[in-house]
């Protein structure tokens, strides 16, 4: 693990100045801080409060060095002083050493010497720097400070205040980086302490980062507390796949058990931060609920049960079921759903099995809850492109704080610190609302029309329920940017058809052909799965069936003859009894499909459901064959984030029981289906084959991806695709159902990852029917009143929550919480019209 990446921005020297550091002339970037310039030039200056991703405060005084700007050397905090020409810096003089001795002694007088029982002991900056820069012993004979041990700042973060050295890192992080200023200093002088406000816990989605950046053991995370000693940990760099941002992280393990994830500073992606869900999702890796052996259904009908089976028996049965389906219905009788949490290699192995061996195109990595594959054909933008200083961003995605938390940090930073103008067009307000130059909330289904009006010269009339004046103001804000438009496109409303989100992107592309797009999807490797071919109508790399038939026909034993359908179409076909074998790659359509009743009918009508999963889910409970698979920290390979950035995943522990990597299952099934040529392949060979045959992956060979300095990954060719705008869906006019439904996701939902993270389970909130103040006034109800929401397909009820983020005429229900919106939704409707009444 390299220290450079844990803390450190990349510095490009564009405006060099020469300074003298300890008698040596070195080149520094004008305006960079002395502490950084010295560190890059082998004169590391000890520090506690300074963190390169936060504003310096100069509080700990550990970084005092002698700086001479022509008026003689003076002790100055090197974290506050920008380098200037002819500056002379001395970091090793007796005066500096005296100050360092003094500061370390001061910091230790009240710091308990409980290092032997402290989680930080062994990787503690205070410990390390006391050894390197301290006086060696203390002259303190008075009594130390005492506080109650420990206090809970939040469900996951605990604080031992007497260990705190008051460096302001956590408090600065809370207010500056995340804008959740829930912890602060209280009291004064030597009694100063960090604490929450009474009754207001530090419920930030990013609270775990404070544990990582704490320079002492004052902040500890409940999932790791007392679990290991740092010197027993083995560390591997990898990438988080909890969402599609793809934050770089380290996996720490001990005795074959994952114990901790920590953020790594990847300059183009996560800047060393992780969200709490990603950080603590390691708990799910070692969960006792993991599937450890194959299961097969014995008996039939209501009395049947899943019983353990040997792998060869289960695989033989799976292969037999596939052969049976091929015999009776042809390739289209086999369908594959899911795969957006697999590695690129596993996704490719499954695409190859499905399309190149079985010959079916009934393959979709998403469950109708993401974006159609066409969005990846749009000219792409990276996160850095979107956040480039002074840029203009049109945001069409979901609430980033809930779905892609670290992307929220980057966007917020871009707006507040880098002068980025952000206009959001979303069905409801989001966490970006307070930073956006303008926020427009069109009626569900009408985003495309609004985007067209916004970018194509405001029409001067109301569009999609947005008043003309608001539209004009937003258009002005967008016109104010001189650079090219960056569009973040995503699926803000799960109750809409995915085609609605695509139509909005198409409208932006038509109005601004020079715009670049960042498609945001939640599931970790959706982009990689689509790129690897787990999407209907396409070969790997996005080539259509017709265009790629010759190329892939020479690589694979077979190619699909006829185009398949997307997840909704596959489920519909299955419900009609046209699918004999349905393979679920980590997908749980009974919970996650937009139209759950359709999913239930589909699963019930399918002869053989084969589920590959880490955990038992509602869908595995209905499957005939359940195969346990390895997940994050258990398989090697690569992943592709929402930008198209391919980075490495590294195994640190062995999967529980006999669980196997998904690609192994695909290879075994291919062999059983008579295709022996593929059987010996591993991730390296799979990637080599994919990479060699996909133009967008040119240059991303293993040698380039696995260099020592691979934290940042490599971005696929973002201009490789050719976007063809599909026909927009016909959105019906508002009707007798007075409102339209918005279903969005929250970070802590009832999904299987959170369900297996004990420390975070309490953060799952109760479901609710969320209405805006206007509609609440019309209904004349109070928060907490039970409301019934009805659509032509069904009704649900739940308690009312009032939110100013929800516009008039819109009903918001969160996905996968206790109020389940799926009875209202039908996959056949592009939007979901509903009515709200008091229950």
């Amino acid at each position: 693990m390299s220290d450079r990446r844990l803390e450190g921005r990349r510095v490009e020297i564009t405006d060099p100045v020469t300074i003298t550091v300890n008698g040596r002339e070195v080149t520094a970037q004008k305006g960079e801080l002395v502490i950084d310039a010295c560190e890059r030039n082998d004169a590391y200056i000890p520090r506690f409060c300074y963190h390169p991703r936060m504003e310096p405060v100069g509080m700990c005084r550990m970084c005092l060095v002698e700086i001479d700007t022509g008026r003689g050397p003076a002790l100055q905090p090197s974290c506050m002083i920008p380098v200037g020409a002819d500056m002379t810096v001395t970091t090793d003089s007796p005066a500096v050493a005296k100050v360092q001795d003094g500061i370390i002694e001061y910091l230790l007088i009240n710091h308990p010497l409980d290092c032997p029982v402290c989680d930080k002991g062994g990787e503690c900056p205070l410990q390390d720097q006391s050894m390197a820069y301290g006086p060696g012993e203390s002259r303190w004979v008075e009594e130390k400070r005492h506080y109650e041990k420990p206090i809970e700042l939040s469900a996951t973060v605990l604080m031992d205040r007497e260990r705190c050295i008051l460096c302001d890192r956590c408090t600065r992080f809370a207010s500056e980086v995340t804008d959740d200023p829930l912890i602060h200093f209280i009291d004064r002088g030597a009694n100063t302490q960090v604490n929450t406000f009474p009754g207001e816990p530090f419920n930030s989605y990013f609270s775990g980062n404070t544990v990582q950046i704490c320079p002492v053991g004052a902040l500890t995370a409940r999932p790791y507390r007392f679990k290991a000693r740092p010197w027993d940990l083995e560390t591997t760099e990898s990438t988080c796949t909890a969402c599609s941002v793809g934050c770089r992280m380290t996996i720490d393990s001990s005795r074959d058990q994952v114990l901790r994830f920590n953020g790594v500073d990847s300059d183009p992606v996560n800047w060393s931060w992780l969200c709490d869900k990603g950080r603590f999702s390691f708990e799910a890796v070692a969960s006792e609920d993991r599937l450890t052996e194959p299961l097969m259904r014995s008996g039939s009908g209501a009395g049947s049960t899943l019983a353990p089976a040997r792998w060869n028996v289960a695989l033989d049965a799976a292969a037999a079921a596939i052969r049976g389906a091929l015999d009776s219905r042809g390739p289209a009788g086999v369908a594959v759903l899911g795969g957006s949490n697999l590695t690129n290699e596993s996704a490719y192995a499954w695409a190859r099995l499905a399309k190149g061996v079985i010959g079916t195109d009934q393959v979709d990595a998403q469950l109708g809850d993401g974006l159609p594959a066409e969005v990846f054909d749009l000219p792409g933008a990276t996160i850095d492109d979107v956040c480039a200083p002074g840029g203009t961003v049109l945001y069409l995605g979901p609430d980033p704080k809930e779905e892609l938390p670290v992307l929220f940090l980057r966007l917020k930073h871009a707006v507040l610190n880098d002068g980025v103008t952000l206009v959001q067009v979303t069905p409801t307000g989001t966490s970006l609302s307070r930073y956006a130059a303008a926020s427009l909330h069109p009626r569900p289904g009408e985003t495309a029309a609004l985007v067209a009006a916004l970018l194509g010269g405001a029409a001067g009339s109301d569009v999609g329920g947005v008043p003309a004046a608001q539209l004009a103001a937003a258009a002005d804000a967008l016109a104010g940017g001189f650079s090219e438009l960056r569009v973040v496109v995503g699926r803000a409303n799960l109750a809409e058809s995915p085609a609605v989100a695509l139509a909005a992107a198409a409208a932006a592309f038509e109005a601004r052909p020079t715009a670049r797009f960042l498609p945001v999807v939640r599931r970790g490797n959706t982009r990689g799965a689509v790129l690897a071919g787990l999407t209907p109508g396409r070969f790997p790399g996005g080539v259509t069936l017709d265009d790629g038939r010759d190329q892939w026909g020479s690589v694979w034993p077979a190619v699909p003859e006829q185009a398949g359908g997307d997840a909704d179409a596959i489920l519909a076909a299955a419900a009609d009894g046209k699918i004999d074998v349905l393979i679920l790659l980590g997908a749980d359509p009974l919970v996650d499909a937009r139209d759950r009743s359709l999913a239930r009918r589909a699963v019930a009508a399918t002869r053989t459901v084969i589920a590959l999963d880490r955990f038992a889910t509602e869908s595995t409970a209905q499957a005939a064959i359940v195969l346990p698979v390895a997940g994050i920290a258990e398989c090697d390979g690569t992943t592709t984030n929402l930008e198209g950035r391919v980075s490495t995943l590294n195994a640190r522990v062995t999967a529980p029981g006999t669980a196997r990597a998904d690609w192994m299952v695909a290879a075994d099934l291919a062999e059983l289906l008579g295709c022996t040529a593929l059987a010996d392949d591993g991730p390296a060979e799979l990637w080599a084959e994919l990479q060699a045959n996909v133009a967008a992956l040119a240059g991303l060979d293993a040698a380039a991806l696995y260099t020592a300095d691979d934290a940042d990954g490599l971005v696929v060719d973002l201009d490789a695709g050719t976007f063809v705008a599909p026909a927009p869906p016909a959105v019906p006019a508002p009707n007798a159902y007075s409102s339209r439904l918005v279903v969005n996701r929250v970070l802590y939902d009832g999904g299987s990852t959170v369900a297996h993270m004990p420390s975070s389970a309490s953060l799952v909130r109760d479901g609710a029917v969320v209405l805006g103040p206007d509609d609440v006034a019309t209904l004349d109800v109070q928060a907490g009143t039970r409301l019934t929401v009805s659509s032509p397909h069904g009704s649900v009820s739940g308690p009312l929550v009032v939110s100013a983020h929800v516009p008039k005429g819109t009903v918001l229900i969160h996905h996968a919480l206790s109020v389940d919106p799926s009875p209202l939704v039908s996959a056949a409707d592009p939007v979901c019209d509903v009515r709200v009444e008091v229950a």
Partner: protein, 482 residues
């Protein structure tokens, strides 16, 4: 000498608009009228020509400070530092309680000069009477169109916003005051990178001036530069207020010619301190507030002139002079001052937060009879880690020791931490034997334990006598309690 800024201290209704305009050394609000007849640059020029020195402690010329605002950056703010909390200092409190209109008029002149439309008047939290008086005066001034929109029919508009603190000494430091005004915890900002004149309140150009500094402006604009400079010295013209406290017969706030009066005059003259109580001997005195290194009998003939006092190893500071006679226990006095700084440290930077507390604990231990011989060097080294190098201290001819001139160096962000070192180096160099006696003999040296009763404060009696017919003076205000 005719009183200038203190001319209404003993006028019973001097705090009202009518009283302000009918009494004192000039007619109230004539100063702003004179200033409004000039260009803003000319107003700044006049303040520069008069060399109005800042009275908060640093003694920096106000007119020069005003010129530090970067040109063309708006809005600009004026912040009035009324967070007077230095132990021994209470001159601003009297100014705010007894002559609030004088301060308001000073604010107007400064706002006109630098082009500020808002003045933030920050009054110490523990001065409710001053807050009430200023609030009442502001109401009167707004009603009389002396503050607010189109003042006196001109196109000059300014709002004065009264704010008060929550009880933190450190907020008297200008950047901590700005943080507090912004609603944050009162902790100093680091200077550099930004100085308030360039980026202060809400990161806009901000001039922070002391109450007394601004209170000098109306008189200046009524009487002119020449008359202003007719008193005092070339480098320190005009008058200044000093707050005498401690073992004097007549402690109180006095207006004295700046730069020329000596400490001996202040202590001995009937006009001022009227001698040490009970005819006792002077042991030491603090010449400029608790932050200042101590002076001893050899320094009493120094004039109250910034440069002279600085060269002699202390500072003029805020004009608070604390006199201690030979009954004073140097170790206890030292602890008393150090404890103040330890309790008031904001906790932001390590040396001050941990160092001042450590100093306090060592001193307390010595006083408790648990001192060790090594503690004195330890104390000095703990202090040295807050303020490295030789600390400013007065000369001691009896030991053949020279003075170390002001200012001290610091490892801290603001001067609070180094201030705690002042009593330690001063007392320990001069009275090391007292410390050693406490350590070796485990008891106090023989200082006089003779019972002592404070003399009646005659100035108060006089004041009560004069005011008796008009308005009874209550303990909560109306007179400046010592």
């Amino acid at each position: 000498m005719e009183p200038r800024v203190s001319s209404r201290f003993e006028v019973v209704d001097g705090h009202t608009l009518a009283g302000y305009q009918d009494s004192g050394s000039y007619r109230g609000y004539d100063g702003i009228k004179a200033a409004l007849a000039m260009s803003p640059d000319a107003v700044t020029g006049m303040v520069k020509d008069a060399t109005v020195l800042g009275r908060g402690g640093a003694g920096f010329p106000a007119g020069v400070k005003w010129g530090f605002c970067p040109p063309g950056v708006w809005p600009r703010y004026i912040v009035v530092n009324g967070d007077e909390s230095e132990p021994g200092t209470y001159k601003d409190r009297v100014l705010m309680e007894r002559d609030p209109h004088q301060l308001i008029e000073g604010c107007l002149i400064a706002a006109y000069a630098i082009g500020a439309a808002q003045v933030f008047l920050y009054v110490r939290g523990e001065m409710p009477h001053a807050q009430e008086r200023i609030a009442a005066a502001l109401n009167e001034a707004y009603a009389a169109n002396l503050v607010g929109r189109n003042i006196l029919g001109t196109d000059f508009s300014v709002d004065i916003i009264l704010t008060w603190g929550a009880g933190a000494y450190i907020v008297g430091e200008e950047t901590a005051l700005i943080e507090s005004l912004e609603g944050n915890r009162g902790m100093p900002r680091l200077k550099p990178p930004y100085f308030p004149a360039a980026k202060g309140l809400y990161m806009q150009p901000t001039i922070v001036n002391n109450v007394e500094t601004l209170s000098n402006l109306p008189w200046l604009f009524c009487h002119g530069v020449d008359e202003y400079r007719s008193i005092g010295t070339e480098t320190s013209p005009g008058t200044r207020l000093v707050a005498l406290s401690g073992h004097l017969n007549s402690p109180g706030v006095y207006e004295i010619p700046q730069g020329s009066t000596t400490y001996r005059e202040l202590f001995e003259s009937e006009q001022y301190g009227n001698g040490i109580r009970g005819g006792r001997q002077l042991k030491m005195f603090i010449p400029g507030g608790a932050s200042a290194p101590w002076f001893f009998p050899e320094q009493v003939d120094l004039p109250l002139e910034g440069r002279d006092v600085g060269a002699a190893g202390s500072m003029l500071g805020s004009g608070a002079i604390v006199v201690m006679d030979d009954t004073t226990d140097a170790v206890k006095a030292c602890l008393r001052v150090v404890r103040f700084f330890a309790r008031e440290s904001c906790g932001k930077c390590t040396p001050c937060r941990e160092g001042t507390t450590w100093e306090e604990k060592i001193l307390q231990r010595i006083l408790d009879g648990h001192g060790r011989p090594s503690d004195l060097d330890l104390l000095l080294d703990v202090a040295d880690n807050i303020s490295p190098g030789p600390y400013p201290v007065a000369a001691d001819p009896s030991q053949g020791l020279d003075a170390v001139p002001f200012p001290p160096r610091q490892t801290t962000i603001c001067p609070l931490g180094p201030s705690s070192v002042a009593p330690i180096t001063s007392a320990l160099r001069r009275f090391r034997s007292e410390f050693e006696a406490k350590i070796t003999r485990r008891n106090s040296i023989a200082v006089s334990t003779e019972a002592f009763t404070a003399p009646a404060d005659e100035s108060v009696d006089e004041l009560v006598g004069e005011a008796a017919g008009a308005e009874p003076l209550s303990g909560t205000g109306g007179r400046f309690d010592v």
